[in-house]
Symmetry: D2
Subunit: 141 residues, 4 copies
């Protein structure tokens, strides 16, 4: 894998709609995990991984086994945020993805610092499979 | 089927949490359809229909084919609402469920007047099956 | 307002993520109403209406007073759909927006036919205001 | 505060509906954070804290500043789960709540181990306030 410390992480823009907010006037905390999955899905797509074919044809799927987030500042209705995804660790059984949320752009205010640990499963037995490291070729670690 | 015009409809209490609200300070319009499905699911359970066994063992499922709602007054964070479900029509291919949402109790303010048309499908082929009218025995029409 | 029967409606592309689907393997019915609002929000933005400034600076907001949808075929995980928004009626007190969902593009399979009736409110008193018809100048009716 | 290591934590039963699940057939990972907030809200209510009066009359609110979860086994459509909330730490500025999810009952299978760090804010300025420790009198720590 290539490693260049100044590589920009994969990032995905997301608009905040009413559905994402709550009566406190800001994005509801659980919804950031939806944003994070959208960015992971698009990052996998950019790496050439088609999750629906994986699931339907090969009966394999990714699952999140751990997640965490630190909420630094809130996003509000109509804000544009960008969500990153960067491979931060990889073993036979799991891989770690670091994910941050910024206001407007990667140069904007840091709103959330988070991440997930994920595994790769047989969709029928739900048993873990070796993480396919080749999926992440070209992704900096 | 029994028919008594003064029968109370099946009703299910639901508490409004932050997740249900939006930045306008009230329940987000799409989330009332989640409330309506919770009440339908509990109504079916009360009629003895176990949807997870239907799906997993018999590969049959209910699907909504049409829905509508008139939003009369908003529910707010921390409100308690009750959602009704009443069989309002039944043919070989579809059935209609009338659903209203009231504040606090069936005697409370009417917040929403709505309903769904539903069908019964083979979960593998997605082809329609005859609606099992026997499920609704004892339900007033 | 201009009226050209062959005008294409405003349309907005939306990707289906896991968050949108349910255990039946397709987009959960209530979530189409979230998709419809995203398309309405982007349509208003394209017409020059900034809903967050309206709310925060002028304390005015749009609310949905009625909605309906006919579910014709399901969207699945990873599908791309497009959602339309077209002004279909306008009175002093309310306006109607027709909204359809198509698979992939406006030429793709029709998945949902729906719409909303909306009103314009004072955000503090929740009292209805005259619908600002000028917002829709240039929108075909 | 009383401390008895064999105290049962506050727990809240939640039914899994279609809205909570995704195309993998299980509860979507972000939705467990909605479950956790329902349990926290009901725990606060049981402690005598009325969050809507706090917000509307005193302009004070709780916010989550950090959260994490370890997903051990999935909940499925129609499952009943119980979600716990237990005060696990308290400083002037923040408090920690431990939250687990079990299948069926506190004696059932552990599905999720998680928690949140929360703060207490002025709802207008979003500035932190001293955590009102008196809210948690009677809650074991």
């Amino acid at each position: 894998m290539t490693l260049a410390s100044n590589d920009l992480p994969f990032s995905w823009p997301i608009r905040v709609y009413y559905e994402d907010t709550d009566a406190q006037g800001v994005v509801y905390y659980a919804n950031y995990f939806r944003y994070m999955e959208r960015a992971r899905t698009e990052w996998l797509r950019a790496l050439g991984v088609d999750q629906s074919r994986l699931l339907n044809e090969q009966r394999r799927m990714f699952v999140v086994t751990e997640t965490k987030a630190e909420f630094i500042a809130p996003a509000k209705f109509n804000d544009q945020v960008v969500v990153t995804a960067r491979l931060a660790g990889l073993t036979r059984a799991t891989f770690d993805i670091e994910q941050n949320v910024y206001l407007n752009s990667l140069e904007g205010q840091l709103l959330l610092r988070g991440g997930v640990k994920a595994a790769f499963l047989n969709a029928d037995t739900l048993r873990p499979l070796r993480v396919p490291a080749e999926f992440f070729q070209g992704s900096s670690l």
